[in-house]
């Protein structure tokens, strides 16, 4: 049971990282902000360049 919970936790963490939810949560924590359209806009301003430079393979 513990193994299953652990696997599910890792799966969730993986999906949160792939889908940038974890990155946004870290941004909110770092800036002591709460989630809002303004905070999300600020988050995107900060990471737009790095996200756009990420190549996707063929």
């Amino acid at each position: 049971m513990n193994h299953l919970v652990r696997v599910l936790r890792i799966l969730r963490a993986t999906l949160r990282e792939i889908f940038d939810e974890a990155s946004y949560a870290r941004f909110l924590q770092r800036t002591n902000a709460s989630s809002s359209p303004g905070a999300y806009a600020a988050y995107w301003r900060e990471r737009e360049a790095s996200h756009a430079r990420k190549p996707r393979c063929c």
């Binding site: 890792i10 946004y24 737009e48 790095s50 430079r53 190549p55 393979c57």
Partner: protein, 747 residues
């Protein structure tokens, strides 16, 4: 504390002690090796001898180690035997169809053995991975780019970045030789070359604070290496984007259903972007599920569109019209804010990609279909209709992603090294994720081979080879020994909701038909064949368009970075004149290759896919040059073969392929021969353009080969200098810092 542990900490026992207590250590050790008598021996010895706690612990540990060793030897021997049997079946079985599970078994065993033994050998002997050395994710952690991340999370992230349309399209095209050459190359190429490249480059980037391949090439092999890596990346991006766009065009031409569905993904992505920004900030998984539901509705909407004549007319587009729209889309997507289109489309395509690949794997296992394609076809002689040329070298450049892809070295030296928590995890992430991608390529081979060979060739052969009219095309393909009729193809087209499936070059439609075949036999039956086919087309087109968006933007940034040296404002990524100018430059470049492919009477794939394969493998050559240089500088020359052998193979493959593509006297293979043949046949404006295109392709190939030859020459000079002691063997690694991470994993 447990008494056995306590006694182990004191370490009071030696073999001499054991002997002094009356236990013949070596004699009993030999007896323990016998699996059948292990338990009996243990009982006898324990009953005879009076042991202290620590003696019993050592004995048990020894027994347990021996047992584990024996089990391990038995287990891995069984895996090796099964792998050898499965490979022998797929290699030697002739004249009768085989089951897809043999391919699955061969792949699973090869990957397991490769990972367990070869990657472990590289990790221990060559790279000497050090779990105590702090990675850049730990030392430079900033919560943004550098971040200590759980290894499984990094694995998923890395796999999502490296898996694109390549491992699906290349293997499907290479199936024209039969299933055997492609499968063997995918397995051997991945285990001995592709996985090694990804693993080694990832580790070297980790040891250099996450430096990119171009930076590492400059540091280790000199300025020429850095410059060539930069030019190769730009070239490969441009050709890749042109080919990807051509695949989408060929899949969607005269297909109102497919075109409607893909067109709908644009407003869906915009809606997702606005939803994320205004309504539920940051809830990406939620909006991805919502987007996926909308895309499914769009597939059903596409069916309605294809059955409503007035709407179907609007979405029935010719190849040139689609090409124009995709070029316009590429330009707009490159200039729009990332959050509005690129990011939500990226999320949506990743969601669909991961889900569909998983679904396909389950479908193949459950259905375990029969492969109708023979092991080898008559086209091993180089006369293939999909692309001309013999197995060597063309099978090896047609399948790049799935076996070895130079593009992966960019990902392995991009985001991923900045997330790795420990050096030891690079093995799982670098080597392991490439194995997963290789497995996707094997699934693509299976999806193509479940089709009847006649159907496969009817879908993938260009009109210029088999003829435009269905009857003529079917007769030509049947004359090759692959029976197919126009009526069969019409029935299949009807079943998948298309007007025709003839001449749909590019690999995507053939893969979609194969995938629909597997899915419909697993879930829904023939009634859902059309839905599954369009789901597969949507799946491929969605992430090909994402590659197009992202690739255009990446190329744009690279050009802006370079132009900043000439005129500083051009490097500003927020300055609109610069954005528009560089976007136009990039889109114009890949748009030209797309247009060239659309207008090519041989379907475009015949010339553009090999060009892309050559560019991609040449980039892998640069990456392996860098890797070999570093290994030699690390004074591990005796192990340099792990990168030197794949490098030598790639040099042989790419240089031979380039030679053929430029100088081969056959007009179907050589660019210059085709240009000459067109010049002689009918000197019209259209043929003049084709002549120019062929010469351009020859020039691009030639320039790439010359540039990579320079890197190779520079690298060999460095190797010889280091080995003779004339050159400084200093490597540009960041200094060792002891990790402060606790032993437990962080999530």
């Amino acid at each position: 504390m447990h008494p056995e542990r306590r006694s182990r900490q004191k370490r009071p026992r030696t073999r001499a002690d054991a002997r002094s207590e009356g236990l013949d250590y070596h004699q009993n050790r030999r007896r323990w090796k016998s699996w059948s008598s292990w338990n009996q021996t243990a009982q006898q010895i324990l009953s005879v001898c009076e042991y202290s706690d620590c003696a019993r612990f050592e004995f048990r540990t020894q027994c347990s180690t021996e047992m584990h060793k024996t089990l391990s030897i038995f287990g891995w021997s069984a895996v090796a035997l099964l792998g050898a049997l499965a490979t022998a079946v797929i290699a030697l079985h002739r004249d009768e169809p085989i089951n897809a599970l043999w391919l699955v078994a061969a792949a699973a065993c090869c990957y397991a053995l490769g990972y367990r033994f070869y990657s472990r050998f590289i990790a221990a002997k060559v790279l000497a991975l050090d779990g105590n050395r702090a990675t850049p994710a730990e030392r430079l952690e900033n919560g943004r780019d550098f971040l200590v991340t759980n290894k499984w999370v990094v694995f998923g992230h890395h796999f999502a970045a490296i898996a694109g349309p390549g491992p699906l399209v290349g293997p499907v095209l290479a199936v024209q030789f039969g299933y055997l050459p492609g499968t063997l190359w995918i397995l051997a190429g991945a285990v001995f070359a592709g996985c090694v490249q990804d693993f080694v480059i990832l580790l070297f980037s980790v040891r250099r604070d996450g430096k990119s391949l171009t930076e590492m090439a400059k540091d280790e092999t000199g300025r020429v290496g850095g410059f060539v890596a930069y030019v190769s990346v730009i070239a490969i991006l441009i050709i890749l984007l042109g080919v990807c766009a051509l695949i989408v065009v060929n899949a969607l031409k005269s297909s109102p259903w497919g075109t409607f569905t893909i067109a709908m993904t644009i407003p869906i992505a915009l809606l997702m972007g606005i939803y994320l920004r205004r309504i539920r900030p940051g809830k990406v998984m939620e909006v991805s599920v919502l987007g996926f539901i909308l895309v499914l509705l769009a597939i059903f909407g596409g069916q309605w569109a294809s059955q409503t004549p007035s709407v179907a007319r609007i979405f029935s587009l010719s190849a040139p019209a689609l090409a124009g729209l995709i070029i316009a889309y590429g330009f707009a997507a490159s200039a729009l804010p990332v959050w509005l289109l690129l990011a939500p489309r990226d999320y949506l395509s990743t969601f669909v990609k991961l889900g569909t690949i998983g679904l396909l794997a389950v479908g193949i296992i459950l259905l375990h279909p029969t492969l109708h394609m023979p092991a080898l076809t008559r086209f091993v002689d180089g006369s293939g209709p999909i692309f001309a040329g013999k197995i060597f070298p063309f099978a090896f450049i047609t399948i790049a992603c799935g076996a070895i892809s130079g593009f992966h070295s960019l990902i392995s030296s991009g985001t991923t090294p900045k997330l790795i928590a420990r050096e030891t995890e690079t093995r799982m992430v670098g080597y392991g994720a490439m194995m997963a991608e290789s497995a996707v390529a094997v699934m693509a081979v299976i999806a193509a081979c479940v089709l009847q060979p006649g159907v496969y060739f009817a879908i993938n052969s260009p009109a210029g080879i088999v003829g435009q009219a269905p009857d003529v095309a079917a007769a030509t393909i049947s004359s090759w020994g692959f029976s197919v009729s126009a009526a069969d193809m019409q029935a299949l087209a009807h079943a998948v909701g298309e007007q025709t499936l003839f001449n749909r070059t590019g690999g995507a439609p053939a893969f979609a038909v194969g995938m629909a075949h597997i899915f419909s036999h697993t879930l829904g039956g023939q009634a859902l064949m059309a839905i599954w086919y369009h789901f597969a087309i949507m799946f491929e087109a969605l992430f090909i368009l994402t590659v197009l968006d992202a690739g255009t933007r990446v190329a744009r940034f690279m050009i802006q970075d370079a132009l900043a040296h000439v005129y500083k404002p051009l490097g500003r990524t927020s300055w609109y004149p610069s954005i528009l100018a560089t976007s136009a430059l990039v889109v114009g470049a890949w748009g030209y290759f797309l247009w060239q492919g659309v207008k090519d009477p041989l379907g475009g794939i015949n010339s553009l896919w090999p060009l892309f394969g050559i560019a991609n493998q040449l980039l892998a050559t640069v990456a392996l040059c860098v890797a070999t240089t570093v290994i030699i500088k690390m004074h591990k020359t005796r192990y340099a073969a792990i990168t030197l052998l794949p490098l030598s193979w790639l040099v042989a493959v790419t240089f031979t392929a380039s030679w053929h593509k430029i100088f081969d006297p056959s007009p179907r293979i050589g660019f210059l021969a085709q240009a000459r043949s067109l010049q002689l046949s009918a000197p019209t404006a259209a043929s003049a353009r084709l002549v120019f295109n062929n010469r351009l392709d020859a020039d691009v190939t030639g320039v790439l080969v010359v540039l990579v030859s320079l890197v190779l020459f520079e690298s060999v000079r460095v190797w010889v200098g280091v080995l003779r002691g004339n050159r400084d063997a200093r490597i540009e690694e960041s200094p060792f810092v002891m990790t402060r991470l606790a032993t437990e994993e962080r999530i």
